[in-house]
């Protein structure tokens, strides 16, 4: 197992510039001007009394910046839409005329992203620029400016600090808003893109903002990566028995990026579309022959955790997870990467216990 990349645990930039700030009215004014200029704005919106989601916003009134821990979904739809047309075709039989996709042109701003959602973007960049440079993904990424909003609170599902991030991490963000007081934030400009978008809306202030404390670290990510392997002795089936096999974890995860490709055929042509998929679905790994290499849910759960904490790290020296806890929060049966890794971590700690069954499953 290679060492994980240094930026996983690197401290964020030491700040020397005098602090700048923005208050809620100025932020709303800025947002209105971006919308008026034709840019798309994606940010947290209360869609039900008990549910906040990132959505495409049409007015500053829709933006919510407090009263929730984390939007239930992620910002990945901004760079990897739920459905995306790869090409269209006309005609039938051997006489087909292909029309390639059109690259998007509309600049977009992800406003008030949680740092754990913003951090997912550089993680996804590796995937979409490895053996094939995905033009649609990369164009959307170029068109995107991310302004993240540091966390003041966390819940039992959060574990960003276990994967080298924290409540005011700068990774993946072009600017970070850090709470100063009610409805006002210190603005930390991270990139020229962030400066170009936000700097003119800020004013001087005399102090730095502070984020909340963040969750206590819950496991050693390097140990986890080392423990996972083709010959691991982790009782996956037992740890994940309650998994229902839906894609609530993967679809809402900021770093899960698998998609399915289908042809939507009409009489006179059609289009080839890629749509989000999840490795937790039984048909995900079903071969055309009828054989399924992962016929049981425990194997599918293992695949998901292995991809995040073994396969991706081997390739890119980083983990495919930002510790946002979205999987656990969305899971209908309260299972998530954190609970599975917590259990694996306890097993590492008590690896001297010879009897597998004696250290069985606390749920966590």
């Amino acid at each position: 197992m290679t060492q994980l990349h240094s930026n996983l645990s690197a401290a964020d930039t030491q700040r020397e510039d005098p602090p700048r700030m923005i208050a809620q009215p100025a932020l709303r004014e800025a947002m209105a001007s971006w919308l008026a200029a034709g840019r798309a704005v994606i940010g947290p919106r209360r869609v039900r009394t008990d549910l906040v989601q990132y959505q495409w916003l049409t007015s500053p009134d829709e933006l919510v910046t407090s009263g929730f821990v984390k939007p239930a979904n992620s910002i990945k739809a901004a760079v990897l839409p739920r459905d995306e047309t790869l090409f269209t075709y006309r005609g039938n039989g051997k006489h087909l005329k292909f029309e390639p996709f059109e690259l998007p042109t509309r600049p977009q701003i992800v406003l008030a992203a949680r740092p754990c959602d913003a951090a997912a973007l550089p993680i996804l960049d590796h995937v979409f620029n490895w053996d094939y440079r995905d033009p649609l993904y990369n164009r959307r990424r170029e068109l995107t400016t991310v302004i993240s909003l540091a966390c003041q609170q966390h819940d039992p599902y959060c574990f960003c600090t276990s994967v080298g991030l924290g409540p005011d991490s700068e990774r993946g963000a072009d600017a970070v808003l850090v709470p100063l007081e009610e409805e006002a934030w210190e603005v930390r400009i991270i990139t020229p893109k962030g400066a170009a978008l936000l700097e003119s809306w800020t004013v001087d202030c005399d102090r730095r903002g502070t984020a909340g404390p963040g969750p206590d670290p819950q496991f050693d990510v390097t140990h986890i990566c080392q423990k996972l392997g083709y010959d691991d002795d982790i009782p996956w089936a037992q740890l994940t028995l309650r998994c229902l096999g839906c894609g609530a974890c993967g679809h809402n995860c900021p770093t899960c990026h698998c998609f399915d490709i289908v042809d939507q055929t009409r009489r006179d042509g059609g289009s080839r579309v890629r749509s989000w998929d999840s490795c937790q679905h039984a048909v995900y790994s079903l071969h055309a022959s009828g054989h399924n290499p992962r016929p049981r849910q425990g194997q599918r759960q293992r695949n998901r955790v292995m991809h995040k904490y073994r396969t991706y790290p081997e390739k890119f020296r980083d983990v495919l997870c930002t510790g946002c806890g979205t999987c656990g929060r969305n899971c209908p049966v309260d299972l998530g990467v954190r609970s599975v890794l917590g259990e694996i971590s306890r097993r590492i700690d008590s690896s001297t216990v010879s009897d597998e069954h004696s250290s069985q499953e606390s749920c966590s």
């Binding site: 839906c246 809402n252 749920c363």
Partner: protein
């Protein structure tokens, strides 16, 4: 009641009557209850029972991972039990192979006020045994006579067709087709769901308005006269889509047209799969 539940389940496992107990466990880290599977009598103290136990555990009976563990005892609320009755009517389970422990609803079963308020059967009726006594606030105390079962649907149907269409367009816009609704549903037991069929594709797998309407309407129709209103789908949906409205609409259609309520008794013939010369529609006679 929890003590009684634990004692009983410990006994079922130690006597070898069942190989696995499907119940609920409390998670200290998250403060949530979740399904749990006990295979050893020593694990019985992990069982819990309170208002947070909203999952319909009957759905696990269809999963091969659970079937592989052997004969199961399953803990059911009255609403969950109705789905067991439908499975039995549809020859999907061998009732002798399942030990059913009914539990009366805890006084704090307010997870879903709308559905629980309209509930007329807080105590299971077909279980092998029932643990607990119905809370004072059950059936009679609630004054529930089934009339308000569709209160939420009635309010919804008062809106105009255009308003309802706008509502569903807006709600289903959030659906990402994670299929948590299908996976949580005890009655979605098709070996290969129609939405997973791709030769040819029957339902547009995209999450466009068209694709989402196709999926949710098809699923609702597949549950017409079968859905027992346990709300497992609505509770599972990470996008907070109120799927019960779709299901209720078809449940009421079955009730009005065929005088049938799914899962209420073991004798009534299900409307789907029954042919009658007295059918009110001429096309089928």
């Amino acid at each position: 009641m929890i003590a009684q539940l634990r004692t009983r389940c410990r006994r079922l496992l130690s006597d070898g009557d069942v190989q696995v107990v499907i119940g609920y466990e409390y998670c200290e880290a998250t403060g949530a209850a979740h399904p749990t599977f006990l295979t050893d009598p020593a694990q019985a103290d992990r069982l819990t029972w309170n208002g947070a136990c909203h999952h319909n555990l009957v759905t696990y009976l269809k999963r091969p991972e659970i079937q592989a563990l052997g004969r199961a005892a399953v803990i059911v609320k009255a609403c969950d039990e109705r789905s067991l009755v439908v499975l039995q009517r549809e020859s999907q389970i061998d009732r002798q192979r399942v030990y059913v422990i009914g539990v009366t609803c805890a006084a704090d079963h307010t997870r879903d006020k709308e559905t629980c308020r309209a509930c007329t059967t807080p105590s299971p009726r077909f279980a092998d045994e029932v643990i607990g006594s119905p809370p004072a606030s059950s059936a009679e105390a609630k004054g529930a006579d089934g009339q308000d079962r569709y209160a939420q649907l009635d309010r919804f149907m008062e809106r105009s067709t255009e308003e309802r269409l706008t509502y569903w367009q807006s709600e289903l816009q959030r659906c990402t087709k994670c299929y948590a609704c299908r996976q949580a549903c005890p009655l979605c037991y098709c070996q290969r769901c129609i939405v997973d069929k791709n030769q040819p594709i029957c339902i547009d797998p995209a999450t466009t308005t068209k694709g989402n309407f196709a999926w949710h309407i098809t699923r609702a129709f597949h549950l017409a006269g079968r859905c027992v209103g346990c709300d497992a789908c609505t509770n599972a949906c990470p996008a907070g889509i109120d799927l019960r409205l779709l299901n209720q609409s078809l449940s009421r259609a079955a009730e009005v047209n065929f005088h049938f309520r799914a899962g209420e008794d073991l004798d009534s013939a299900p409307p789907i799969g029954t042919y009658s010369l007295q059918d009110q529609e001429s096309f089928i006679r």
